[in-house]
Symmetry: C2
Subunit: 376 residues, 2 copies
């Protein structure tokens, strides 16, 4: 474990020349946000961006913590849900931040899940051509994935996350206690991204999750360890390739198939949420790698068994409702922004913890594979 910021708190550093920042992971950390911010950024003022659900649970704690540290804050509260990742909401947040008369050195604080973090980070990146930004992620998905690494963005009618920018936070505060109130399905979906880090390049972490996942779900030190290890994994990749010109694409493991399935289900969260799409996508990526003689069938089976055991979907047949045909699914993949000059780029694997970027996967192979795996 890294050096601790406060008793029991784990600190992970994202090492970016001149813009390094800490991720703090611990129980009840929202209540010490004020002092952690004041220590690092004296005399800032803040605008908190949150949604009404998260506000009800955590806003008072955060505001009081800031007040105790002498930090003034305004609050911008949005509707919960993916629809909030829109141009309209971006404009509202920008107006709220400007209305609070914050300056370039002041802070936007994102208090919420991935939607709030992506939106608030985007706003922070464009108000006065870039303000300070702090992430206080309250979902597992946000704590292990979207709050780390500086990707921000919104959705448009043309697709998800096609508009945004890289804007690194100055601090990430992950309060593990905030996860206690998450609906089990949402926690599970976030867990898919935890598994992803094991599958990319940490086989020992994956083996530990296979063994101890129940403790991660229960809470306590195992959960904190899983979150910290995930942040460390992501931080290392981001430090080496901040702007995704290469290696960072590994973080898309499971996401090419996953995004296509999200699009194919009309982004209907009742049928499939993002983390579930990633779970199916990771299982498919392993099975596809077996078909291409890159990965052993045993490893693919282990991945599928573990994801299935925690209750995540692993096959297209696990998704409720009907799916479009194989050609249509392929067209969703070819629209994916990871497509480069028409060649299909996939994250494939040579086994558990041995993922790699394949830049020239023939579309015909993908099509046949989808046809074989589509439910009747």
């Amino acid at each position: 474990m890294d050096a601790t910021a406060a008793e029991g708190t784990v600190r992970v550093e994202v090492d970016l020349a001149g813009r390094s920042y800490d991720i703090l992971i611990g129980d009840g950390l929202i209540a010490s946000c004020g002092s952690e911010i004041a220590r690092r950024m004296p005399s800032v003022r803040c605008a908190i961006v949150t949604d009404s659900n998260v506000a009800a649970a955590h806003l008072a704690t955060l505001v009081e913590s800031l007040e105790r540290a002498g930090i003034e804050s305004a609050t911008i509260t949005l509707d919960p849900g993916e629809k909030t990742k829109s141009f309209a909401a971006l404009e509202a947040v920008v107006d709220g931040v400007l209305g609070a008369r914050l300056e370039r050195g002041d802070l936007v604080i994102a208090l919420g899940g991935g939607v709030i973090g992506d939106l608030a980070g985007f706003a922070a990146g464009i108000v006065r051509r870039g303000m300070g930004f702090v992430q206080v992620p309250t979902s597992l998905l946000a704590q292990v994935d979207s709050s780390v690494g500086g990707k921000t963005g919104i959705n448009t009618a043309r697709g998800k996350n096609l508009v945004g920018l890289f804007h690194q936070p100055r601090l990430v505060v992950a309060d593990t206690a905030a996860l206690d109130t998450l609906p089990p399905r949402e926690f599970r979906a976030g867990y898919a991204e935890v598994v992803k880090y094991g599958l990319i390049d940490r086989p020992d972490f994956f083996a530990w999750l296979e063994k101890d996942w129940r403790a991660v779900f229960t809470g306590g030190p195992a959960r904190q360890r899983a979150i910290a290890e995930s942040c460390r994994a992501k931080a290392e990749i981001v430090a080496r390739d901040e702007l995704e010109t290469g290696e960072r694409a590994l973080l898309n493991l499971g996401h090419t198939f996953g995004h296509a399935l999200e699009a194919a289900t009309g982004y209907d969260g009742a049928r499939l949420v993002h983390g579930e799409g990633v779970a199916v996508g990771m299982a498919l990526a392993h099975r596809f790698s077996v078909r291409l003689n890159q990965c052993s069938a045993d490893d693919a089976a282990r991945v599928e068994a573990h994801l299935g055991e925690v209750g995540l979907p692993v096959r297209m047949a696990d998704i409720p409702g009907s799916l479009p045909g194989a050609e249509q699914l392929l067209s969703y993949i070819a629209q994916d922004k990871k497509v480069l000059r028409g060649a299909l780029t996939f994250i494939l694997t040579r086994g558990i913890g041995r993922s790699y970027i394949a830049r020239d996967v023939p579309a015909s192979e993908v099509l046949s594979f989808i046809q074989e795996n589509l439910p009747e």
Copy 2:
């Protein structure tokens, strides 16, 4: 003069580690945009962003040039005028670029003045978290100022240019022939920014302008020299301080008073356009520096004489219509985004070509100065 790209073309390099780019300045260059782009960025596709006025004059030339170089392009045509620097127009441009199915490595080309450049650059900076960007400025203001240095942005009800980002172009192509059709008032307004570079740190350039400004207005080699020298001056400052953490603020000479006067006239271009505000602002900055015993009265008089000779306004009394009182003008200055923690930051001068950043100018001094200079 720098090495030439084509006969008679001047090349100025903006030296940014890993992201250096060329500014090409020459007669008729729009017709060679295609080959200049193809040479630097093989096999890109493009979306051209322009307004209906500029499109009528130059779009066909640009599109044909791209076609001759084998570069496919889509066009997004907007309404002319400052109102186009809005969230709504930004959303329209983003949608148009995504609709053209461009990828991260493809290009957004801004064909137009400062409004189009600022807006298209902003869109290029946020589509797919940052696409390539080329500036083809068609106004003098855009050629000597806004197209160089990577500042992009839009206006909101809270103020001008408060929302945007730094996104450097990969190439700037300044066709001096495009200026032949500019209305004289617009050319003159752009000329105020040319004078600015002399006043910041190039006294010899200012002296040359005093002597040869008529040739600059006529066109030909003197105009090209004035534009090239302006780009060189800006490029040097931007290379040393890309993100305006220090020295780049010198480029705001005349802009603090200027912005306040633009706001005070309701951004009504019939009364005052940006460059005219800068002209009055530069004259005021020099007179204010005289009042603070920083600059000689002779130098301030030279500045005023030159700006006045070319037909630019130099006093608040030169602005048609009535102005608000001194307190109101001061509040426009204090809202300016260059205000840091309530202290008033001004670009002052010790004489022609000797501007400097003053970070703690007492508001009371500014107020008295405005009171003395307001027309009855």
